[in-house]
Symmetry: C2
C-alpha cells in the first residue's frame, strides 16, 4: 500500500466522519468484515426487525390470536403512509400489497381501463423483464392491447394518442440510469396517456417526487432500498384525484367497503384501500413497517446526497486506477444515475464471484454486467474504497479466471 493509497483511505474515513448519515448505519445489523453492495437487490437487515418479528409472532399472533386483526387491518395503509413520505406522495395515496409484479398487473390494468379507446402500453426495451412479462399478461387479459417497446431515447417520439399508459422503471436495473420522471410524465400527459412508474430501483435512495412530477400511478418494491426483507410486500401508489377514476381489477375482501359483512356483492372501500385484495401478509408487512423506521429523521435529499457521494467516489477511484477490461456501464453524470454503478467486464461473472470470496458483495447480470448498489443508509465511504481495492486485486491477479469462480449462476 503506497502512501497515496493510505491517504486516499484516510480521506474516505474523513468523509464518513463528516457524513450526516454516518450513525444511521447503526440502525442495521451487518455481518462483520463484509462490504455489502447488493442492497439494490436485497436490502440489509434493520436492527429493529428481529424484535418486531418476534413480537408479532409470539405476542400479536401467539397470544392475541385472531384478535390480532384489530391491530393488523390498517397496517397496509399505515406502512403505505411511511413509504409515501419517501416518494413525494401524501397520506392515503400508497398501500402495501401483494408482490411487485402482481401489484403492477393491477395498476397497469387499471390505467389502461381508465383510457378507453386507447390500446397501447408503451414501455422501454430496457425495462425490468418481469415488468415486460406483466405488461404482456395485462395485454392478453384485456385483449386487443399492444405492448409497444422502444429504446429509451425513442420514447418521446413513440408517444401518441393510441397510448393508454407509459410504463417505465425509474432506474434501469442493468445500468443504473435514472429516467427523467418529470419530463417523461409530462410527455405522456401531453398525449393524454397515463404515466405508470416502477419505483423498485429508486424508492428510498433517489429523489422521487410523485406529486411534483404529476405521476399517475406507481408500484415499487419493499425489499431493495426499503430493506423490508426477502420478498417483502410491494407498494402501489395512485394519485388521490385519480383514485375515484381507476379500479382494482382483482377485487377481494380486503378492499371491500365493509369487509366483515361478507356481502356477496363487492362494494369497493374506495381510495387506495380499494387496491388491496386479500389478507395482508402480516409477517412480511410488519418487517417492512419496522424497517421503514430506519428512515426516521432523514430527508430524501440528504439520502440522495450521500448516495451521490458514494457512487461518485466509486467511479472516481476506478477512473484513477484504469483497471484492465472494466468499463463504466452507468451514466457518468450523477444526475442521470440512481444509487447503483454497473461495470462491464467480459468475465463479469467471475469478477463478481472472486469479489464475493473477498467478502465484497455485488451481483452479476448477463451478459457482462457487474452491479454495485450503494445503499445510502448503511454503506460507508471506506466500504467504497475497500471494494475498489479488492476489485483491483481481482482484476490484476485475473482471479476471475480461477475455476473456483466458474459460471454457476448467481441469484438475486
Amino acid at each position: 500500500v503506497t502512501a497515496d493509497r493510505r491517504s486516499e483511505r484516510v480521506r474516505c474515513e474523513r468523509l464518513d466522519r463528516d457524513d450526516p448519515l454516518a450513525t444511521v448505519r447503526e440502525r442495521f445489523l451487518l455481518p462483520e468484515g463484509v462490504v455489502y453492495l447488493a442492497g439494490n437487490s436485497l436490502g440489509a437487515l434493520p436492527r429493529a426487525v428481529p424484535g418486531r418479528l418476534a413480537a408479532v409472532a409470539t405476542e400479536e399472533w401467539g397470544k392475541g390470536l385472531v384478535g390480532g386483526w384489530e391491530r393488523w387491518m390498517s397496517l397496509p395503509e399505515e406502512t403505505g403512509d411511511k413509504i409515501a413520505r419517501l416518494i413525494g406522495a401524501g397520506d392515503g395515496e400508497v398501500v402495501v400489497i401483494d408482490s411487485t409484479t402482481i401489484a403492477l398487473v393491477k395498476i397497469l390494468t387499471a390505467a389502461v381501463r381508465a383510457r378507453p379507446g386507447r390500446r397501447v402500453v408503451l414501455t422501454s426495451t430496457t425495462n425490468f423483464p418481469s415488468d415486460l412479462y406483466a405488461a404482456s399478461g395485462v395485454a392478453r387479459l384485456l385483449g386487443d392491447v399492444e405492448v409497444r417497446t422502444v429504446e429509451p431515447l425513442g420514447i418521446p417520439e413513440a408517444l401518441d394518442e393510441s397510448v393508454a399508459a407509459l410504463l417505465l422503471t425509474h432506474v434501469d436495473f442493468r445500468t443504473g440510469e435514472l429516467f427523467d420522471m418529470p419530463v417523461l410524465t409530462k410527455a405522456a400527459h401531453s398525449v393524454g396517456a397515463l404515466a405508470v412508474w416502477d419505483l423498485c430501483h429508486s424508492a428510498g435512495a433517489v429523489i422521487v417526487d410523485c406529486e411534483a412530477a404529476g405521476v399517475d400511478l406507481a408500484v415499487g418494491c419493499g425489499y431493495k432500498y426499503l430493506n423490508g426483507g426477502p420478498g417483502a410486500p410491494a407498494f402501489a401508489y395512485v394519485r388521490r384525484d385519480l383514485q375515484p377514476l381507476v379500479e382494482n381489477p382483482m377485487p377481494g375482501w380486503l378492499g371491500h367497503a365493509s369487509p366483515f359483512d361478507f356481502d356477496v356483492v363487492f362494494r369497493t372501500a374506495g381510495g387506495i384501500r380499494g387496491f388491496a385484495t386479500s389478507t395482508p401478509a402480516i409477517l412480511g408487512l410488519s418487517a417492512l413497517d419496522s424497517a421503514l423506521d430506519a428512515f426516521d429523521g432523514l430527508t430524501i435529499e440528504a439520502i440522495r446526497q450521500k448516495s451521490v457521494s458514494l457512487t461518485e467516489l466509486f467511479i472516481a477511484l476506478l477512473e484513477e486506477r484504469q483497471l484492465a477490461g472494466l468499463q463504466l456501464a452507468s451514466p457518468r453524470p450523477s444526475s442521470q444515475r440512481g444509487s447503483q454503478v454497473s461495470l462491464r467486464h467480459a468475465e463479469g461473472y467471475g469478477v463478481i464471484e472472486a469479489l464475493l470470496a473477498r467478502r465484497v458483495v455485488g451481483d452479476f447480470r448477463p451478459p457482462d454486467l457487474c452491479r454495485f448498489g450503494f445503499s445510502p443508509l448503511y454503506v460507508r465511504h471506506v466500504d467504497v474504497y475497500d471494494a475498489v481495492e479488492q476489485l483491483e486485486a481481482v482484476i490484476e491477479s485475473k482471479e476471475y479466471l480461477d475455476e473456483r469462480f466458474g459460471r454457476r449462476r448467481k441469484v438475486t
Copy 2:
C-alpha cells in the same frame, strides 16, 4: 356443578388421554386459560415458528444477505410438497404463492382459458364472498364470461356444456357444510367442465384427496388449519397432467424457465412453478413451512377422526343442554360437516363477545352466526366441554345483552 356435569368433564379428560393426537398440542404455543375455537379463521402459533423466523431474519437474511436466495428459491415448491401430502396431491403439484384471492384469480383464469368456447363459471351463492369477487373480476378481465351462481343443491342441474369451470369451496365458511368433492367433481367432468376447489376451510382438518376425486385445480389458505400465521401465503394445486395445458395469466420472473437470465421474452418454467409470478414472501413462507412440520407423523385420517370427535362432542353436549335461542346451523351428520360448528342466535354478536370475555374464542358472521372451529391439532375434548359450559352461562345469564358486548364489528 352437578355430579353429572363432573362426570361429563371426566369423560372428556379420558377422551383426551386416549387421543392419539394428544401430544400434538405441545407443538403449539397457546395462551394459558384460553379456549381457542377460531383456528378455522387464524390457526394458533406453532412452537417452532418463532425460532424459524428468528433464524431466517438474523442468519439467512442478516448474515446471508442476498446469498440467502440459494436457500429460498426452491421454498415455494418445497412447502407446496408438504401441503400436497395433506390434500392428496403429489410432489410438484402444489406451489405456495400470493394470497388466496390472487391465487384464485390465476387458477380460475387458467381454467376458463383451458375450455375455449365455454363462457360460464358456475359457483354457489354460498361461496366465500372473496371467491365471488375474484370470479367476477376474472369474468370481466376475460370478457364475455358469466359467473352463474346457484344454490348448492342446484349445482348438478346447472352444469351444462356452457360451463368452463365449476368453482366451489369445499367447506362452507358460514355453516361448516362439507361439499361432496368426488361427486361434484365427477358431475363437472361429465359436462366437460373443469373442477376448481377452494380448500381454505378444509386443508389440514378434513380428508381432501385431490387425486382420488380427480380435482383439476385448487387453491387454499396457509393460515387457517395449516397454522402459517396471519396472511400466510396461499397455495395453488394443478393436477400434473393438466399442467402443460394451463397457463399462469400473470407471468413473472419467478415462473421463468431461467429467472436469472433476465430475458425480455417470457418462457415458462413449466410445471407448477409456472404459476409463481414474483419474488416469494420469504418471511411468511418460512413461517408456513415451519408450521407444516406440526403435521409430521400424522395421517389426515387420524386428524379427521379427532376433528369429528370434537365436533360431535360439541353438538352432543349442546343437544343435552337445549340452550334457549341457539340453533345448530351446521349439518348434523358428521360426514357432511367440516371441522367447524356454527350456531344461530338472534344476538349472536353479543354471544361471541360475552364468550370472549370468558376467554372462549369463537367468531361471529352476519347476520346471526356464531362459529366455532375445532383445530384437531391443538383443541382438546376438555376445551369443548369448557366452551359449552361458558356458552351455557352466557345464554342463561343473557350476558349477550350486556352493553359491554355491543355490536362493534369483530374481525377475522
